[in-house]
Symmetry: C2
Subunit: 196 residues, 2 copies
C-alpha cells in the first residue's frame, strides 16, 4: 500500500500522529515527522490541523473518545436496571483505564503528557462521562429505585468518589491484587447511598 | 542562641533537615548541609540516623504524623455522634492537606519527592488514618446508627472514595472554588450508604 495514493483524511493523520508520538515521545515528535510517516508534505497536514497544538489536542481527544464511546452503550442500555448499569459502567471505566495503562505503558505516559497540556479536552471528556452517569442516575430516580435528587450533582459526586479507580494519577495502584474488591466495596457503599 | 551548646536531639536534626530540604531541594540536600546548619559534625548526625535514607524517611514520617496526630482527637471524640465525627474528620483531613499544599508549595513539592521514595512510611501513614476511621465506623455500628458490617473494610472503602480530597496527586484541584461543596456531596452520599 502506497500511502500517497490514499486520500489524506484527518483520521489517517491522527493515526500516524499517535504512532509518531509513541516512537519519538511527546517532547520530540514534530509535524514534519507525521508528514514523513504519511509520505506527504507538512503543508498537507496543516490543511487539516492548523497548528501543532491543534493536532496534539485532536489526537488527545481521539484517545479519550475511545473510552467514552465504549461506555455510552452501557450508560444507555435501558434493558439493564439502573443500579446494575451503574456498577457495570464503573467496572468498564476502570478496566478501560487500567488496560490502557498496562497494555502500552509508553503510550500511556505519552498521553499523560498530552492530557496535562490539553486541560480543555480533558474537561470535555470528564463532562461527557458525567453526562453518561447523569443519564443512569436519572433513570434510577425516574423508576424510584434511587432516592430523589439532582441527577447531575449526584453524578458528579459519584465520579469524584471513584477517582481512585479512573484518574490516571492513581495508575500505579491499579495493579494491586485487591483493587477490584476495593472498587466493589466503594460501589456497594455508593449504591446503598443512592437507594430510595 | 549558639546551636552547639544545645543537646543534639533527633527532633532538632529533623527540624534542620526540613529547612535544608526546603532551601536546597530534595535532589541536592546532603547530610553535610544538615550538620553545617546545626553547627555539628556529620558524624553527630549519623549517630542519630545511620544513613541519609533513614534521615529522609524520618523527616517524611514527621511531616505525615503532624496530620494524623491532629486528626486522632476528632476520631476519638466520644462526645460527638459518629456521623458528625466522620464528616468533621474528612473535612479536617482535606483542610490539612490543602493547607500544606497551598501554604508552602515548595515544601509540598519537596515532600512529594520524599513520599515517592518512602513507600513504606506512606503505607504506615495511610494505615494509621484508616485505623482512625475504623474506630469511628465501629462506634457508629456499635450504637446502631451505621448498618452492621466489617468496620475495617468499610473504613478502607471510605478512604478510597475520598481520594480526590486527600491524595496529593489531586492537589492541583484543591483550589477549585466548588471543591468544598463536592466533598460535602460525596460525604452525604457515603453517610447515606453507611446508615442503618
Amino acid at each position: 500500500m502506497s500511502p500517497t495514493t490514499e486520500t489524506l483524511t484527518a483520521e489517517r493523520i491522527l493515526e500516524a500522529t499517535e504512532e509518531v508520538l509513541r516512537r519519538h515521545g511527546p517532547a520530540k515528535a514534530t509535524v514534519v515527522d507525521v508528514a514523513r510517516a504519511l509520505g506527504v508534505s507538512h503543508g498537507s497536514v496543516y490543511r487539516h490541523f492548523r497548528t501543532k497544538a491543534e493536532l496534539r489536542a485532536a489526537v488527545t481527544k481521539r484517545w479519550l473518545d475511545r473510552t467514552s464511546r465504549a461506555l455510552a452503550a452501557t450508560a444507555d442500555d435501558g434493558e439493564r436496571a439502573p443500579a446494575l448499569r451503574l456498577r457495570d459502567w464503573f467496572r468498564q471505566l476502570f478496566e478501560a483505564k487500567r488496560d490502557k495503562a498496562g497494555a502500552d505503558p509508553e503510550l500511556f505516559a505519552t498521553y499523560s503528557v498530552l492530557t496535562d497540556e490539553n486541560g480543555e479536552v480533558v474537561g470535555a471528556h470528564i463532562a461527557e462521562l458525567v453526562a453518561q452517569l447523569t443519564r443512569i442516575v436519572e433513570a434510577g430516580m425516574a423508576s424510584g429505585v434511587f432516592a430523589p435528587g439532582d441527577p447531575a450533582s449526584v453524578a458528579r459526586a459519584l465520579f469524584r468518589a471513584t477517582a481512585h479507580f479512573h484518574d490516571p494519577c492513581h495508575a500505579r495502584e491499579w495493579t494491586r491484587p485487591e483493587i477490584r474488591d476495593e472498587l466493589d466495596s466503594v460501589l456497594d457503599l455508593l449504591l446503598r447511598g443512592l437507594a430510595a
